[in-house]
Symmetry: C2
Subunit: 353 residues, 2 copies
């Protein structure tokens, strides 16, 4: 295949996950990679990225094939993007125009104008459950030939400065169709894996049970990430600073995790009991702050709905009791509104007498 014939991939979201995804795709050499960069645009257009990666080594002035300042610019590029890889935070309750469907719409529409007969594959490398539903609701996927794929990253990659990325855990990603019955989605996921794989350097696997994978990751994110955000400290402090050195684990983490197990079970997904101690232990010995905690500390909105709101909707529909998760949600919902007020997205007014 000549270079001009390589499929075009656009990565939206230039944080730790997005930049490493763009890098992997570029190094694999099977696609042309565009990266949408917002806040660091001037910096990286001028100097590229500085990347310190356990998989890909030390890179300076690294650039994907193209940078775009925003999705509108990308949609005017005349390119058909076969894969739209979304690595932004997923905050459906964010400010107007910031939801995933809003963000991808210009590209979906320009793709359609350019080649109405070709399929557009949306790959959501994001946490949470039911995140595909918002795409299904806002686009006529069957008629518009849109396929939605799940990406679950198990990567320790962080943007530590303007245009500077540090990746400390192997680039390990599971890619699969949200709807395993959808042959086009299965094929698209498999093709993406071929575009992404860099022999011996990253680990890219086909995910034939996306929902299970997402529930499994929620064992950590719905319970531990949320707790750290609420109390404002890293996981190891949460554990050590609990009542009698064990209250956090025994009274919050484990009961909260069991609620996730029960919700998943209510839709027929059985999680492995061993996950409980695995996830309790995974960051016990590091001063690790999950991104929800960091977002909250930095005054940024949290991924509260996809990590906790959506699981609780399912729990309510299926009659599952969730005392720990509900209380966490009620508390963090207040905090999310405080962050929204600080950002100027909402206004607080006292009720009149």
């Amino acid at each position: 295949m000549s270079r001009a014939d390589l499929p075009e991939v656009i990565v939206i979201g230039a944080g730790g996950v997005g930049v490493i995804a763009a890098l992997s795709l570029s190094l694999a050499g099977e696609s042309r990679v565009s990266l949408v960069v917002r806040s660091d645009y001037e910096q990286v257009r001028e100097h590229g990225y500085e990347i310190n990666s356990c998989d890909y080594g030390q890179l300076r002035n690294w650039r994907p094939h193209r940078f775009f300042k925003g999705v509108e610019e990308a949609s005017e590029s005349g390119k058909f993007f076969e894969y739209v890889v979304v690595t932004t935070k997923n905050i459906p309750d964010g400010p107007e125009g910031s939801t995933v469907p809003d963000v991808i719409r210009p590209i979906v529409e320009s793709n359609r104008r350019l080649c109405p007969e070709r399929q557009t594959n949306i790959l959501l490398i994001q946490n949470g459950i039911d995140i595909e539903k918002d795409i299904y609701a806002k686009f006529d996927c069957a008629n518009e030939k849109i396929v939605v794929l799940s990406g679950t990253q198990l990567i320790g990659s962080t943007k530590i400065g303007k245009g500077v990325i540090r990746q400390i855990g192997q680039d390990h990603i599971l890619v699969g169709p949200f709807d395993v019955q959808n042959k086009a989605a299965v094929d698209a996921a498999q093709k993406f894996i071929d575009l992404y794989r860099c022999e011996d350097r990253n680990l890219v696997l086909f995910d034939d049970k996306v929902r299970y994978t997402r529930w499994r990751k929620l064992i950590y994110n719905s319970v531990i990430s949320t707790t750290t955000a609420l109390v404002g400290m890293d996981v190891s402090r949460c554990l050590k600073f609990g009542v009698a050195g064990m209250g956090t684990e025994e009274e919050i983490f484990k009961p909260g995790m069991r609620e996730i197990f029960a919700i998943a079970a209510s839709e027929g997904i059985e999680l492995d009991e061993e996950c409980i101690s695995f996830f309790c232990d995974i960051s016990r010995k590091q001063e690790y702050k999950p991104s929800m905690c960091i977002d909250c500390e930095n005054g940024q909105l949290m991924e509260l709905e996809v990590l906790l709101g959506n699981p609780l909707k399912i729990a309510r529909e299926n009659g599952v009791e969730t005392p720990v998760l509900s209380l966490l949600y009620n508390m963090l919902y207040m905090v999310q509104n405080k962050l929204k007020e600080q950002k100027g997205y909402i206004k607080f007014e006292l009720d009149d007498e």
Copy 2:
């Protein structure tokens, strides 16, 4: 009675409550009032207090009869203090030497040296339940002629600057014996009321059901104060910012309050159902932050044990279920330890592999 014969009262803790207590006692004119001032000592010894009080008007350069820099200085004054009024925060898990028994000990001991046959009355104007137990445990009250009294303040008084006090709610205090069977305590409470009452200006009532009064106040403090501390915002925002504008009230405040009702009931105290809506409404229309919230924001230790830890001990002893309060406690316990680490009272170390 000549002035020299007036009983000596010492107020320990020169915050909003302590200074107004010292002022009321002084104005009533039936006692000689000493005030222990720590942080503002130089300021108030030089300039006295500036007080803006809804009961007592505008005062400048106001001084009680005596200032002391600490309890040790007071204990060396040669005075027998008939009443030791404690208005400090009650933080039994604070740094060494900071508990109420530690703080009052020098005065109790100097009293005993001066007049072993006279009774020392300890009046705790502090929130929480079972706060007297710590005094009973650390002193041989019967032999040392120590009586412990309860003071419950319903006052809106705050120290708003060095030596500056603003009081916006009427000075309304309930004083009574923790042990209503103890005749000496009943008499001491009644005598204190006479020392404190300023006709038409304050409201001082005998409290013949101290435990009820304290449980009633905990309906607010165990639930609303704790929640505001955890999420870091005033009560009206907590209410408005809840899920669907009512999650805070319906899912946290009311269920938490019902747990306090159940714990109180388990020791035979029946709280009035109407308190629930009363306390939910009391600060709905003000941007009011309870002191626990302010302490947490200011990096000060919270009165967590007396407001929440002690009620939960009783719940456990009596087999009362407390899902909401326990989770609040587990969360705030972590936060309290974070504050202790910040203050340098404890050290955090990662476990070795």
